[in-house]
């Protein structure tokens, strides 16, 4: 089983639209499993319209809680907390759960033993069925920590099912950025497809995500979205890829059909299969397979 992760560094370059289209194309040839690893803002579901089969609680991490009956407001917790998570009060102190990092330093330092930690639910993860294959996705509740842990969780579930059901390809729609959820999304990937856009921000962010996937030794291919928006910047991406020996496997034209397809809840390759964007995406899928020697089998 192969694992393809779709990343971009910069947000909004079209990761999810590309992931949905590749899911559509790949599923016509082989059995796949899908994972939406952008647990902060999971959107793959909106295009694939899945049926939810299972729902599970996600426990995020520890949060401190102060027992008001035991607290003598001595300020020790306030002094030791490095995350500004202790809210002083006249009678007792309180913990701001959004600020609390869960380090439990206050728990160990409180002279009254008035503080303990608890592990509140921080979100949900789901197993769903789409027309292209099973989808594992999640919902991290507002403002919660540990998105990396939740990404690892949904990916692990996807991998287990893919192994058990002998599915050949795991497609992971990644989060933006380069930090912990991206690192979790990258882990164990055989290939990263980086969706770049021909803008100064897009190039800056492409360089950083490329450095990140290199750091974790995941080979990468680049696809330029909205390539005809700025031909000068697209040429810069081409030159950059050549210099760094990264294959540029597609140029998708700037076309509002991508947004129309999203509004209709369709991958663009299904919504307008003969359009220029769909054609370019079919080429991307062919190049991804060629990169694997024409087979997804290891």
């Amino acid at each position: 089983m192969k694992q393809l992760v779709i990343l971009s560094g910069k947000g909004g370059t079209g990761k999810t639209s590309v992931a949905a289209a590749l899911s559509h194309l790949a599923s016509q040839e082989l059995p796949i499993v899908l994972v939406d690893a952008d647990v902060d803002a999971a959107n793959l579901e909106l295009v694939l319209g899945p049926v939810r089969l299972e729902e599970h609680a996600f426990m995020g991490g520890q949060v401190a809680i102060i027992d008001p009956d035991l607290c003598r407001p001595c300020a020790r917790c306030l002094d030791v907390c490095r995350f500004d998570a202790i809210l002083p009060g006249e009678q007792t102190y309180r913990v701001d759960p959004l600020a609390c990092e869960g380090c439990a330093s206050c728990v160990h330092q409180c002279p009254e033993a008035a503080i303990r930690t608890q592990e509140p639910q921080a979100g949900l993860w789901f197993r769903s069925e789409t027309r292209f294959g099973p989808l594992f996705h999640a919902e991290l509740w507002a403002g919660q920590e540990n998105s990396g842990k939740l990404v690892t969780m949904v990916k692990q579930q996807g991998r287990l099912l893919a192994q058990d059901a002998r599915r050949e390809l795991l497609i992971v729609d990644g989060p933006p950025g380069i930090g912990c959820p991206v690192i979790s999304a990258c882990a164990g990937a055989d290939l990263a497809l980086l969706v770049a856009e021909p803008t100064v921000s897009g190039i800056h962010d492409l360089e950083r995500i490329l450095a990140t996937v290199n750091h974790f030794r995941v080979p990468a291919l680049v696809v330029v979205n909205k390539a005809d928006l700025n031909c000068v910047q697209t040429a810069r991406i081409e030159a950059y890829c050549q210099e760094n020996r990264i294959q540029l496997v597609g140029r998708l034209p700037y076309d509002t059909v991508v947004t129309e397809a999203m509004v209709q809840g369709q991958p663009v390759t299904a919504y307008q299969p003969e359009g220029a964007v769909a054609k370019a995406l079919r080429e991307v899928w062919a190049r991804v397979q060629r990169d694997w020697g024409g087979s997804t089998r290891p």
Partner: protein
């Protein structure tokens, strides 16, 4: 007056709105902080002269071997298994350490001191009248929050009373919360598409429902997509403070690294009005400030 510009979904135009807002209120000598430390882009548009640079991170433990008795108390209190005692060795895993200092406090021998584990950089300077600061997370580092926290700490203490614009990272989790904490107003930039709407709802939950902050919406690329965002904003009582039309000229200017109001000055009055509307709704601005 601290305004955080956020969105949930990436690429909706946070940096476009934040930089143009700063340029449009340049007469107030605003402070601009790029808190998207994983992918900081605002400097590409504001083009500040960055004159100060420092490396930042978290404080991680370092053990004094002469004092350590290998009792294992440090490992017991560490919630992230960032320190382990194996026989007569103490192993430290800097990439797991959150820098809470719990092990230092718990060590009965006082054998732990703390040293900086670098995760990124802070840079600052000026872009004309705009004071500019940004954080950049080093490639391969997982934790953005410590860099954001130190960026804000460094600049906000001196910025008392100034107009401050925070360019937030995408998403809805801890880096976004860290950016929004302490803000007076959260400006949510969205696009009128199903993705934009879905992520706008999530960000409203963070900013308004969890943090209790006043929020307003900017609809970018108005005219693409569908009417979902308008319907939601009306139903949820969210004021739409500005609409930026879907215009290929804007996309082209931004692709070149030009700030919207510099490439297309006809948008400047709209941003000045946006600022006024934020100040009015928030009630945080003085009457003179509004009148000016």
């Amino acid at each position: 007056m601290i305004i955080a510009v956020a969105s949930g979904k990436g690429g909706t135009g946070k940096t476009t709105v934040a930089t143009s807002l700063a340029l449009s209120v340049a007469d107030k000598a605003p402070l601009f902080l790029d808190c998207d430390v994983e992918e900081p882009n605002a400097a590409l548009f504001l083009k500040p002269a960055l004159t100060q640079r420092e490396r930042v991170g978290v404080l991680i433990p370092e053990v004094d071997w002469n004092e350590c008795t290998f009792c294992g108390r440090c490992a017991q209190v560490c919630m992230w298994h960032a320190i382990a005692v194996v026989g007569r060795q103490v192993l430290i895993f800097p990439e797991l350490c959150h820098g809470c200092g719990s092990c230092t406090l718990a060590c009965p021998e006082g054998a732990i001191r703390e040293v900086l584990h670098v995760m990124g950089s802070l840079e600052s300077g000026r872009a004309g009248p705009i004071l500019f600061g940004q954080g950049t997370l080093d490639v391969g580092q997982a934790m953005a929050v410590p860099v954001i926290r130190q960026l804000k700490k460094k600049h906000l203490v001196e910025a008392d009373g100034a107009v401050v614009i925070l360019d937030s990272p995408p998403g809805t989790s801890c880096p976004v919360v860290e950016t929004m904490r302490g803000a007076d107003f959260v400006l949510l930039v969205t696009e009128p598409t199903p993705f934009g709407l879905h992520d706008l709802r999530l960000t409203v939950r963070v900013a308004r429902d969890e943090l209790g902050l006043p929020v307003g919406v900017v609809v970018n690329r108005d005219g693409v997509g569908d009417a979902g965002v308008d319907g939601y904003c009306a139903a949820a009582g969210l004021p739409i403070l500005m609409r930026i039309p879907h215009d290929r000229r804007i996309a082209e200017a931004i692709s070149e690294g030009k700030a919207l109001v510099e490439a297309l000055p006809e948008y400047r009055p709209g941003f000045i009005e946006l600022y006024q509307r934020i100040v009015h709704r928030d009630g945080g601005g003085t009457a003179q400030e509004v009148a000016r």
